[in-house]
Amino acid sequence: MIEVLLVLIVTALATSVPGVFLVLRGLSMTTDAISHTILLGIVLAFFMTNDIRSPWLIIAASIVGIATVYIIELVSRTQLVRQDAAIGLVFTALFAAAIILISKYSGNAHLDMDVVLMGEVLFAPFNRIDVFGFSIPAALWQLSIIMLVNFAFIALFYKELKLTTFDPKFAFIAGFSATFIYYALMTLVSVTAVAAFDAVGSILVINFFVAPALTAYLLVRRLSAMIWLSMLFAVWNSVIGYMIGFSYDLSIAGVTSFTALVTFMAVFIFSPDGWLNSRLRAFRQKRTFTRAMILMLMNERGHTRLTAGEITAHFNLNRKQFDNHMEHLLINDYIEKKNGQYTLTERGEEYTHYTRIKYELPI
């Protein structure tokens, strides 16, 4: 069964690397559209060749993929509909055409709707071919080649991809065609999506394309690091997805996609610049700031003796917050309490002086 895991990992690697550029260019939804509309190409080519393994399927699917990109461009360039609406329109129409064709003309078990939509990586090893005398799953062979083509494309055109993604106008001036790079990338995305169909199906492939890159984006700020880290997350998601899916007899592609979401959420929440840390930091900063401001108020003329009521009213504090702040200030000997009134200690005075410096306030 190690072959199933290999197919999954190769699929994840082949998709995640171009996925970095899809994420950075805001093309996630276009990719989702492609991964559905290519079905139309597959269906049409299948009806003509009657062979589910024919290379014509990949060629036809790629043509439909590129056509999808082009039609979306055309529709949104009219400026009558927005880009997202254009994607929704084109994608559903072409996908629907494919569904109609399948349901009407194909009683053939080879084009099983469930497999098309959801994929079934467990079936991959049943379809085998001989390569250099070894019998390996056809999907593994096909996906490995596509993975290497994707790697080669990104390695060769790294500079051009970087420039056209970051600053297309400057790319034009520097003599690099952003259009060429764009369509080359989208062709590879189409081909990759077709090959990934067997393993993960058309619905989930978008997750394989973008989830690792999105997760990596939370952690690093260099393009090269983002690519390497995406590959790492791709492998991680696949391994965890395979282990859980296999042990509990669940859809492996489904569990892999779900693992990708959990991983993303975990990074989002727990990473050094993540949600939890920034919330904690903000909370601490605000707490320190409020305490400093209470001391500052007591340092002002006419406010040197304050009652609890005056302080809570001034800073809009509830009883619990007030007690918490005051306890801290009393314990640290910044203030003292006499006859129900709070005053600054000498240490408190000193602290307000540093506070002015720290927050760059006039002394």
Binding site: K159, I173, V220, R222
Partner: protein, 241 residues
Amino acid sequence: MDDTIITIKDLNVAYQDKPALWHINLDIRKNGRTAIVGPNGAGKSTMIKTMMKLIRPVSGRIEIDGRTDKGVLKNIAYVPQKGEVNWDFPATVLDVVLMGRYVHKGWIKRPQKKDREIALEALKTMKMEAFCDRQISELSGGQRQRAFLARAIAQDADIYVMDEPLQGIDITTENLIMDVIRKLQTEGKTFIVVHHQLNTVKEYFDHVVIMNKTIIADGPTDAVFTGENIEKAYREKGVSV
């Protein structure tokens, strides 16, 4: 006409059916510091973008160094009005400056050590070397502007076309940028700069183009930058100078 580097002949540009530039005829002086001034919406950015072939004119001809082909653009360092780039992109300041060197590389070829040195030198010129590894999205407006100027310097072009490089920056940076421009001028470079502060035109530029859809006046600053011409350009907008 040896001292002319850019010649614009009867240029008309429109956005859909709205003319933005009308019968523009203009010679730009080689090795000069030329300011382009005019009210908001006068078509200054449009003219520059048309020179950079980012906009297709309705009619007219632009000759740069006697050439009209696309290749000549590599010899122009263009700094757009507000860095119209993908700010989400994970790039450091050095990455961006290094992109200036891509102009001299063909397809597929990667920048070399030499290019990195040139990029670092350009960063130093703009006093940005300390920000070398900083994420481009984490810079202030003025620092971004300096990073893009450093990219222009790293490109090592003969012509610099800048759209309001002094907009929204403090006086120290403004002086730095003008010093760099003056120094590069002595090395034979040509500058075309869209400029908004009318009070500094005389001090900063030796030539000026005053425009509002059409050219109102152009030539040496001392001769052309007169109250009357400025009045003409800004009048219909109701802006007093």
